[in-house]
Amino acid sequence: MNTPAYTLDARAADATAPTPHLPGDLAIWIFILAELLAFGVFLVAYAFARSGDVAGFDARQLGLDRDAGAINTVLLLTSSFFVVRATQAVAAGACARASGWLVGAIGCGLGFVVIKVFEYAEKFGAGVTLSSSTFDMFYLSLTFFHFMHVLLGLVILAALWLGTRQRRYGPDNMNGIESGAAYWHMVDLVWLILFPLVYVMR
């Protein structure tokens, strides 16, 4: 039989009924779960702290820049999409193509960082600190905690990029890129909740 080692066609895969399989390393997934848990508790803590002082939170929230936040959402989603394409390319044995997609993903991630830095510069200029109000505390804590994850994610993406340049990954060696990709998607996932919760919900 001449099946390709790795098929991209979902229906064909259904027919052969592949065994359920976790893409990426168990170690990174345990880490991702721990991170999600920490973020989850933090986000929920925000929601309940807000419920105790809706007017105060809503007033401070007006000061946030939703346009920048939305652009950042688009950047992260697009970056995640590029990472998916990179993973697909590696699965198809095209490491060179994968590194191209990864450059795109890193570019989007850097765009996020730049916009965020401008946002922070403006906020710090306006006297927003971890101690200026409860809303500001949550806004800074949540976004900065997330921001640091973006930075770590970028380091991981850079390592993946290097790996694709050195052709370290391939259809038979997906563990590294799948693990890194899963981590980057987690960063995206958290932002998808964080953005509407902190920037928009009122």
Binding site: G24, F31, N175
Partner: protein, 141 residues
Amino acid sequence: MSGTFTKAMARNVFYGGTVFFFLLFIALTFDTMQGLPKSDNRAAITPAVAAGKHVWETRNCLGCHTLLGEGAYYAPELGNVYKRRGPEFIKAWIQSMPSNTPGRRQMPQFNLTDKELDDLVEFLKYTSEINTQNWPPNIEG
């Protein structure tokens, strides 16, 4: 369980995660150091307060008492004792120890000089004015 679990990845996650969270801790520490002047009552630190802290430490007061809730739980909290009892009571109390009441907990006699007593009270005054987020819940500590 079907899936991959490699030692190399577990190691990378350990080092990455540890460095990441330590850096985060450093960042928070940096912010705390920036914010402390607002809450730690440093403006009130005088040579007398410094000398008082020295008296506090060299008599191992923390071996029985708590100070801002930290120490031993054998004797009352002293972070707010200045507000609870006032300076004269504190000095008189220290000088009258031990009570020698049979069966009661005893505080040693430290034979502090008048200056040492004053310094210690200054230290306790400074401590009582630190912004502790309203802890303890009431004056009893």
